[in-house]
């Protein structure tokens, strides 16, 4: 109905109208940007939490923790449990892990030391680092292999030294593992960490056991068997799937994110209201201009298009800026939510950025609809009399 030449004219007209009323347009764009930024950032956190806490169908990882203890400072289990656990049917491997964190509460910058038996670890994680880095790590008792995100966050590379949580370690290499729990961790030799962490516990005490099993469908069964094994012991255990372990530690954060998500949706509603309001106000103050355009021969479809294009530009520019800023922030800050020694990485996601932009565009189109119809139906004479 509208030919290409006229459409280009309308787009040019809409664009000029917006850039030459910079205060009005700028405020709307800034509002849209903030709302989309909020939405995308919260959604990135939600995605991270979901990824870390929803049980995958192929999950084979269990965490054995001290019963009724929820923080690595207080969960203490004797290392010799390793033997008993490895004999339980279905268990493939058991790794005693000593965890020392720089901060036990929910935080965005936590270093988690995981003390592990060096030889076993070298075998099971051979693919995660270069052979040179791995042999370096094996050779030095005080050396650490760092998770990728931890290394980037602290700007550490092989050969550096660093101190966190009272532990001073040498960086042997960086792990390429994508597993969320590896990202913020520094893997060190178990005896070294046991020695360094003298908070009441002595050698032979670990925080937890990381257990691998063969058959994902037996996850709960094996967990029950492990807990039954030590039920009457002095230090009974609670065994959960790794994702469930993270979910439990992250209960507060999950509740917070659920709430933040509501805020995100409220922000989107605000986007809609903001654009709709801006367009309605702008069209109201421009009724005469609309009448002039009509007099010049612009029809209802032209005017509706003009209004929609204006709305679309505001929504798109605001959406791209907001989603881009959110993506950049998440990508650059490499945020990991960490609490009680478990880490939830917040991944930058192109998908979320695109979704944020698409939503902003859709909302801007919806917001422009009513003003567009009103403008297209306006009678010329009434516009001049206003």
């Amino acid at each position: 109905m509208i030919n290409r030449r006229t459409l280009i004219g309308l787009i040019v007209l809409a664009w000029r109208g917006l850039v030459r009323r910079p205060t009005r347009s700028g405020l709307v764009v800034a509002g849209v940007m903030v709302a989309v930024f909020l939405f995308c950032t919260v959604d990135a956190m939600r995605t991270g939490v979901e990824r870390a806490t929803s049980r995958a169908s192929q999950e084979t990882a269990l965490i054995v923790y001290r019963q009724n203890r929820f923080c690595p400072f207080t969960s203490a289990l004797p290392q010799y449990y390793e033997n008993a656990i490895s004999k339980i049917p279905g268990v493939v491997s058991v790794t005693p892990v000593k965890i020392v964190v720089s901060n036990c509460r929910a935080s965005l910058d936590v270093v988690t030391f995981r003390g592990v038996p060096a030889e076993d670890f070298a075998l099971s994680h051979a693919a995660s680092t270069s052979p040179r880095e791995m042999s370096d790590w094996l050779k030095r008792g005080d050396s650490a292999l760092l998770g990728k995100e931890l290394a980037e966050r602290r700007r550490l590379k092989a050969g550096d030294r660093f101190t966190a949580a009272g532990v001073d370690a040498y960086v042997a290499g960086i792990m390429q593992s994508d597993a969320p729990q590896d990202q913020s961790s520094a893997f060190v030799h178990l005896p070294f960490l046991q020695e360094q962490a003298k908070r009441g516990s002595t050698g032979g005490i670990v925080t937890q056991f990381d257990v691998r099993i063969a058959d994902p469908s037996k996850l709960d069964e094996v967990a029950l068997a492990i807990d039954a094994q030590f039920a009457t012991d002095q230090t009974p255990t609670t065994t959960r799937a790794e994702t469930a372990h993270v979910a439990r530690a992250a209960t507060d954060v999950i509740a917070l994110i659920g709430f933040a998500r509501l805020l995100g949706f409220a922000a989107l509603a605000a986007v809609f209201a903001l654009i709709a309001n801006a367009i309605v106000l702008s069209m109201r103050s421009r009724q005469r201009e609309v009448s002039v355009l009509q007099t010049l021969g612009f029809g209802g479809a032209h005017l509706a298009t003009l209004v929609m294009v204006e709305s679309l530009i505001l929504g798109t520019v605001g959406g791209v800026l907001g989603a881009g800023a959110s993506y950049a922030m998440v990508a650059l800050s490499r945020t990991a939510l960490t609490m009680e020694g478990v880490a939830i990485a917040v991944p930058p996601s192109i998908g979320i950025a695109v979704a944020g932009i698409v939503i902003a565009i859709a909302l801007s189109l919806a917001a422009g609809l009513v003003p567009a119809v009103i403008a297209s139906r306006q009678t010329i004479v009434c516009g001049f009399r206003s």
């Binding site: 000029r16 002039v292 021969g297």
Partner: protein
């Protein structure tokens, strides 16, 4: 007058408004024929219906009854969209208060109606430049309306009205808001367009001196045409 030459023909034209349940007859049984190429002044006291009649001619308002043919089109029968399309090519309208788009420069204001014409960018540029030239405001093409004087704004508005080379140029008190010197300049310009280009012009005015520029004057009183001697220059 020979109706074959007529650019506007109306018979028994009526325009009523209902205001608070009461019908106001703004225009009553208007029979009129205006010839192509003429410069016609429309005069009458305030509230007599001059603007209303001009708006009917321009196809920006619809008559309540009667027939109205402009430039060979029975515009009463045209749909809303068809009427808009017809306006785009056939009518130029000059307002008392100029009504330039404030965020567009003089050049862009004049360019505006050409977006609806099937012409190339080059052609558009030529036509806008020519129109600005012919109203004597080419040197102000990059100015915004607020940077122009009233007389200059009205010149830009006239350029915008004639840039599509319409069959009919309508002007509603084009000098009504201007000082005497600027007003004289605008009348000079309209006379020039009429004389040199054969532009048909229908102009509403209060001022007999302004009406003198026209070949013919039509008088309205309380919505009816009234007899008055034709005024020739």
């Amino acid at each position: 007058m020979n109706t074959a030459d007529a650019i506007i023909t109306c018979t028994a034209l009526e325009k009523h408004y209902t205001r608070g349940g009461e019908t106001v007859r703004v225009l009553e049984s208007i029979d009129l024929s205006l010839e192509r190429g003429a410069f016609v002044a429309l005069m009458g006291p305030s509230g007599s219906g001059k603007t209303t009649l001009l708006n009917l001619f321009a196809g920006i308002d619809r008559p309540t009854a009667g027939s109205l043919t402009v430039d060979g089109h029975d515009i009463v029968k045209l749909s809303r969209a068809a009427l808009a399309q017809w306006r785009a090519s056939s009518v130029g309208y000059v307002f008392q208060l100029y009504h330039l788009v404030p965020v567009l420069t003089a050049y862009e204001n004049v360019e505006l109606p050409l977006y609806l014409q099937p012409i190339s960018r080059r052609e558009r540029h030529l036509r806008v430049s020519e129109a600005l030239e012919s109203v004597g405001i080419a040197d102000r093409h990059a100015h915004y309306p607020r940077q122009l004087s009233g007389g200059q704004e009205q010149r830009v508005a006239i350029a915008r009205a004639i840039v599509t080379q319409p069959a009919l140029l309508l002007a509603d008190e084009p000098t009504g808001d201007l000082d005497r010197t600027s007003a004289a300049g605008i009348m000079e310009l309209l006379s020039h367009l009429h004389r040199d280009r054969g532009q048909t012009i229908v102009m509403v005015t209060h001022d007999p001196a302004t009406a003198h520029h026209a070949q013919r004057t039509v008088f309205l009183e309380k919505g009816r045409l009234v007899d008055a001697p034709e005024v020739h220059r």
